[in-house]
């Protein structure tokens, strides 16, 4: 046994080592502070919207249309209906297309082509939404006028890469053994995809859709170009312009009248709740889907 106890080198550090530890702790502290700051911004934001929007939450808000300029009362029923219809139409366009693109990419396309398509999806998702607005304006609004249909096409272009990329990721998670199992039984590739791959990836596709819907519901710029002027009434005909939550918030946020601002806050609260709940649900589901698929491996 060694009995002589020299001063413990592990507790008595030289000044330089102490400096290094302090510096390390400082940097780690700053990184933690940055994370704290980001969370604080989120909390402040949600709290602000909730505090200002909550007082205006009442039955009228959901059952009345926007009051004519300068008059009290009124609600956002037309905006809610418009947002729901336009988002639903955009979903109906983008989900089948997005899933098909993902299938093509993972199941049929040769590597180079798949890479090129993936690249195109990423590039499309990086295009500023206002540019998509300009695009759809020239394509569908000039000569035809504002319409909810044009808005849904614009929104679907925004949703498409989100859905295609996430679906692709889930499809790639589906184990090759499952595919080969289907093929080995003599099923064609298409049959295997439809009966084996898609059902396995179904949860993932739902998740992708929820996340994309949450994104589209809050999108404002394309609506500005396609439904820039709308009636103070519930509209359900997609060939006409419709009110929407984002545009209601946008226009009212710039008005000086406090009543208008109040309605803007209430609409923002509704939109924020929808978007956040959608995001959280999407993420929770996505974790579950991944785990389930990984278990089948």
């Amino acid at each position: 046994m060694s009995t002589e106890m020299s001063p413990n080198p592990f507790t008595n550090l030289d000044p330089r080592s102490r400096r290094r530890r302090r510096w390390g702790r400082l940097m780690e502290g700053l990184a933690s502070l940055a994370a704290l700051l980001a969370i604080a911004v989120l909390v402040i934001l949600i709290a602000s919207v909730a505090r200002r929007g909550a007082p205006a939450l009442n039955v009228d808000l959901f059952t009345q249309v926007d009051a004519p300029f300068g008059q009290p009362g009124g609600g956002i029923e037309n905006a809610i209906v418009g947002t729901v219809i336009m988002t639903a139409m955009a979903t109906a366009i983008s989900v089948p297309l997005g899933v098909l693109i993902a299938i093509f990419d993972t199941e049929f396309a040769p590597a180079r082509l798949a890479f090129a398509i993936r690249m195109t999806l990423n590039v499309l998702s990086g295009v500023p939404t206002i540019v998509i607005g300009v695009f759809i304006f020239g394509l569908l609004v000039v000569g035809h006028g504002y319409s909810a249909f044009a808005a849904s096409v614009a929104l679907s272009i925004i949703m498409l890469p989100l859905i295609a990329r996430s679906t692709e990721e889930v499809l790639l998670l589906v184990p090759g053994t499952l595919r080969e199992g289907g093929m080995a039984l003599g099923a064609t590739r298409a049959r295997t995809v439809v009966t084996v791959v898609l059902p396995t990836a179904f949860g993932g596709i739902i998740t992708a859709t929820i996340v994309a819907v949450a994104r589209a519901a809050g999108e404002t710029a394309p609506l500005l170009f396609t439904t820039g002027i709308f009636a103070n009434a519930v509209v359900t005909d997609p060939s006409h312009s419709m009110a929407s939550l984002p545009l209601t918030i946008f226009t009212k946020s710039e008005l000086p009248d406090t009543h208008d601002q109040q309605v803007a806050w209430a609409a923002a609260l509704v939109l924020l709740v929808v978007v956040l709940v959608g995001s959280i649900t999407g993420r929770a589901l996505s974790l579950r889907t991944r785990r389930q698929i990984e278990q089948t491996r």
Binding site: M1, M5, P9, F10
Partner: protein, 299 residues
């Protein structure tokens, strides 16, 4: 963890065959070259007392008592899953990096407990160097790999000289002296491993822990590493984990044999079976489990 265990599991199945080809006598022959009482009169560097290491409350190795002496090569051998690597990694607090790992009992280094709350784990690792199973040079130049630790610890006087000495020490200098600026990743696996040894030597540690340092290398590179271990022990205390008994018989003065005990619920936990001078352990093992393992009868 499992990734690291993989080669271990493969090789562990292979090694006993090699051993049985020329049974215990061959190992005995190799082992008999070592002093029969190597620890006599040597200072104790590590003193492990009742050490149990658990992951998330599940013990991986249990109740280990052993001592490591200065300027000797101590080998940890045993089948895969016996916790020898886990034990090694607790000797420089590297297990801290694994979530849920905890150590009970005491690990003393020159009498200082390594696991008290006021111990600075970074300083522990600076004095107790480590070489890993797979060569892990940084994606930097050969020179910068060796200078890495020197710069960290402010050992910047005569940096080039220190780098050269470390590389010479690791028997790598002649091979890399003309390409110190080349990427370390351009070296062969064996050279990379010696570079990692040089990197560890550069900061002048007292002890070098080696975790199966040759398991990923070809026979010639393995030979080079073993020769290196032999020369390094004049200045350093070395603990080497190996699954290769011949390697232990060749390089180690003292050998500790670990085994796996299967508990009631099927839980597996490592234990130290016996430890002693290599010459004794391989020629006259006192525990039947050791005998079974060294003669290759181990399942």
């Amino acid at each position: 963890m499992t990734g690291q265990q993989q080669p271990d599991a493969n090789d562990a199945g292979r090694t006993p065959e090699v051993a049985t080809a020329r049974p215990a006598t061959r190992l005995g022959e190799l082992a008999s070259g070592h002093d029969s009482d190597p620890a006599e009169g040597r200072e104790v560097v590590f003193d492990l007392d009742g050490v149990t290491i658990s992951y998330s409350g599940k013990p991986a190795i249990r109740d280990v008592n052993l001592a490591v002496h200065r300027n000797l090569v101590t080998a940890f051998i045993g089948p895969s899953g016996c916790g020898k690597t886990t034990l090694l990694r607790s000797m420089n607090r590297l297990n801290d990096l694994i979530a849920g790992a905890s150590v009970d009992g005491s690990i003393r280094y020159h009498g200082h407990d390594l696991n008290t709350s006021d111990v600075d784990a970074v300083e522990v690792r600076r004095r107790i160097g480590m070489v890993f199973q797979r060569p892990n040079p940084f994606p930097k130049s050969v020179y910068d790999n060796v200078a890495f630790g020197l710069r960290l610890h402010g050992m910047k006087d005569d940096l080039a000289g220190r780098v050269e000495r470390a590389l010479r020490h690791a028997a790598l200098w002649d091979e890399v002296k003309d390409r110190l600026k080349a990427s370390a990743l351009s070296l062969s696996g064996g050279q990379q491993q010696r570079l990692c040894i040089a990197r560890a030597l550069a900061i002048e540690p007292d002890v070098i822990l080696m975790d199966e340092p040759a398991s990923a290398l070809d026979p010639i590179s393995t030979q080079a590493i073993e020769d290196l271990v032999e020369t390094l022990k004049t200045e350093y205390t070395i603990v080497i984990v190996t699954h290769n008994m011949q390697q232990a018989a060749r390089v180690a003065d003292v050998t500790a044999f670990f085994s796996v005990e299967v508990g009631d619920g099927g839980s597996r936990c490592g234990v130290l079976v016996e430890m002693g001078p290599t010459s004794g352990l391989f020629i006259r093992p006192s525990d039947p489990r050791t005998e079974a393992y060294v003669t290759g009868r181990f399942g």
